[in-house]
């Protein structure tokens, strides 16, 4: 459904993405992992057209996304740090999004209800706590029933109850056949939600396989340990190569 072909992105001298080749398909859920600053968010922003790749191209449903915007109808995006206009209330923000992004189908208000956001409809965005902001971002990402969900650190900053609600929602959407792309540092969450692991390090895609295959390769039962083993193996190989 979406393929990244030789994506490179340079910010001045810094290479954020280096020859990333990747293909993602519906009904699967991809966990994008890697240390801070390894290029996860940049890759996601490339997909959304917020960052323009230095070279390479992204194909969405058979069409290149460069200078396109229509394809974003099919993406729900939950940013890592949701930044919203200050002077607007939650209710106004949601109304505005509904007006700006008219969808034929009924909107999906499930998360608005589950997070009880309607109780705070009058609150201004600048007065919200980080967690509430995160809930608003999540509700907006799912609101238009998009076939592709891009979630950048969805559970970071949420309280345990809300995090569970969100995880259940993500799981439900995956079962419905949507393509989900998640970045997270909480590996336990990913163990429940993801089917595939994409490991990015220093802008390069180092590993791309299913979680089951990873566990088998590393002989570990838990995802956390499996990834730790994977990283250690990579480091070992690198040190031999040097």
């Amino acid at each position: 459904m979406i393929s990244f072909n030789n994506i490179c992105k340079k910010f001045g001298k810094l290479t954020a993405l280096d020859q990333v080749n990747l293909e993602v398909k519906p009904s699967r859920s991809y966990a994008l992992i890697g240390p801070n600053g390894s290029g996860k968010t940049t890759l996601i922003k490339c997909l959304l057209g917020l960052v323009v790749p230095t070279s390479g191209e992204i194909i969405f449903d058979g069409k290149s996304i460069s200078n396109e915007w229509k394809y974003r109808e099919k993406i729900g995006y939950m940013p890592q740090i949701g930044r919203y206009p200050d002077n607007i209330s939650i209710g106004q923000l949601i109304d505005m999004m509904k007006n700006i992004r008219p969808s034929g189908e009924k909107t999906d208000d499930e998360l608005i209800d589950a997070f009880r956001l309607y109780k705070m409809y009058d609150k201004k965005m600048h007065s919200l706590s980080g967690g509430t902001r995160q809930k608003v971002s999540a509700a907006l990402a799912f609101l238009f029933n998009p076939p592709v969900l891009v979630l950048d650190e969805p559970t970071a900053g949420l309280d345990p109850v809300s995090a569970e609600i969100l995880k259940e929602k993500i799981h439900g959407e995956k079962v419905k056949g949507k393509l989900i792309l998640i970045t997270s540092h909480i590996l336990n969450d990913l163990d429940e939600l993801a089917t595939d692991i994409l490991y990015i390090f220093e802008g390069k895609l180092q590993y791309n396989n299913t979680i089951d295959a990873l566990k088998e390769e590393t002989n570990e039962k838990r995802l956390g340990k499996a990834i730790a083993t994977l990283i250690r193996q990579k480091e070992l190989l690198d040190s031999i190569a040097d």
């Binding site: 922003k45 057209g49 200078n67 974003r72 700006i100």
Partner: protein, 255 residues
């Protein structure tokens, strides 16, 4: 498109700044009309206020607004909306808000004290100057990610065109006064939108001799109407060119 503009526009009207700007212009216009009864003289005094204040306010307000609505722009760009629409929407809303403030601020008192045709020209030049400096401010905003730097660049534009350029022009004329400079000055003036606006106004008031050498020459070269048409068309280039450059930078900008 209209939805986007509607939301930006609402947000703009909620800031008290536009209201204060309107009030300021209204009070100064009222005061000028009260001091002098000759409307041509009033227009001339107003012209000096307009030439300094309108570019300054346009430049500062636009840059601050652009960076304050960075979040909104980010949010919109992740939605199925064309980048050009967002940029054009921002430009249009800021320009409309500032022009409305200017036209009501100067136009309303003028209407009360009896409108003169020259007031219409004053309104027109003010509106065009607003558009020119909004364009320049958008250009400086997309050139950098840093708010302080962008305001700095925008203020530099204002400083250069309102103060420095005339000094440089005088220096050129003074240094090369052995040569025939009429045509050169004419070309050089086209490089400064503030001067162009001033010439339009002075030609309209038929006191271009007050502007000395260049004004007189301008008048002789073009005659009143051609001179006004020529200056206005160059001013439109001044609106369109920075806007085009800014839009093309914005369409490739990383957020």
């Amino acid at each position: 498109m209209t939805q986007v503009i509607k939301y930006i526009f609402y947000d703009l009207l909620r800031t008290r700044f536009i209201l204060l700007y309107t009030l300021f212009l209204m009070i100064s216009t009222f005061a000028m009309f009260q001091i002098d009864s000759d409307s041509a003289k009033v227009v001339l005094s107003l012209l000096n206020v307009v030439l300094m204040v309108v570019p300054l306010i346009s430049v500062v307000f636009t840059t601050i607004h652009f960076f304050n609505s960075y979040e909104f722009i980010e949010l919109m760009l992740a939605q199925p909306i064309n980048r050009k629409v967002i940029f054009f929407g921002e430009y249009l809303s800021v320009s409309i808000a500032l022009c409305m403030a200017y036209v009501t601020g100067v136009g309303f008192p003028a209407l009360l004290f009896g409108a003169d045709p020259s007031i219409i020209t004053l309104l027109l030049t003010g509106v065009i100057l607003t558009l020119v400096f909004v364009s320049l401010a958008f250009l400086s905003s997309v050139l950098t990610r840093d708010k302080a730097k962008a305001i700095g660049i925008a203020l530099l534009f204002w400083f250069y065109f309102s103060l420095l350029y005339d000094g440089l022009l005088l220096w050129v004329i003074y240094s090369f006064n052995d040569y025939p400079l009429e045509k050169v000055t004419l070309v050089l003036i086209a490089f400064n939108p503030v001067d162009l606006a001033r010439i339009v106004m002075l030609l309209q008031l038929d006191i271009s001799a007050l502007m000395g050498y260049t004004g007189a020459f301008y008048k002789e070269f073009f005659g009143n109407n051609t001179g006004i048409a020529f200056s206005l068309s160059i001013l439109i280039v001044w609106v369109a060119l920075p806007f085009r450059i800014a839009a093309s930078i914005f369409s490739r900008k990383d957020l």
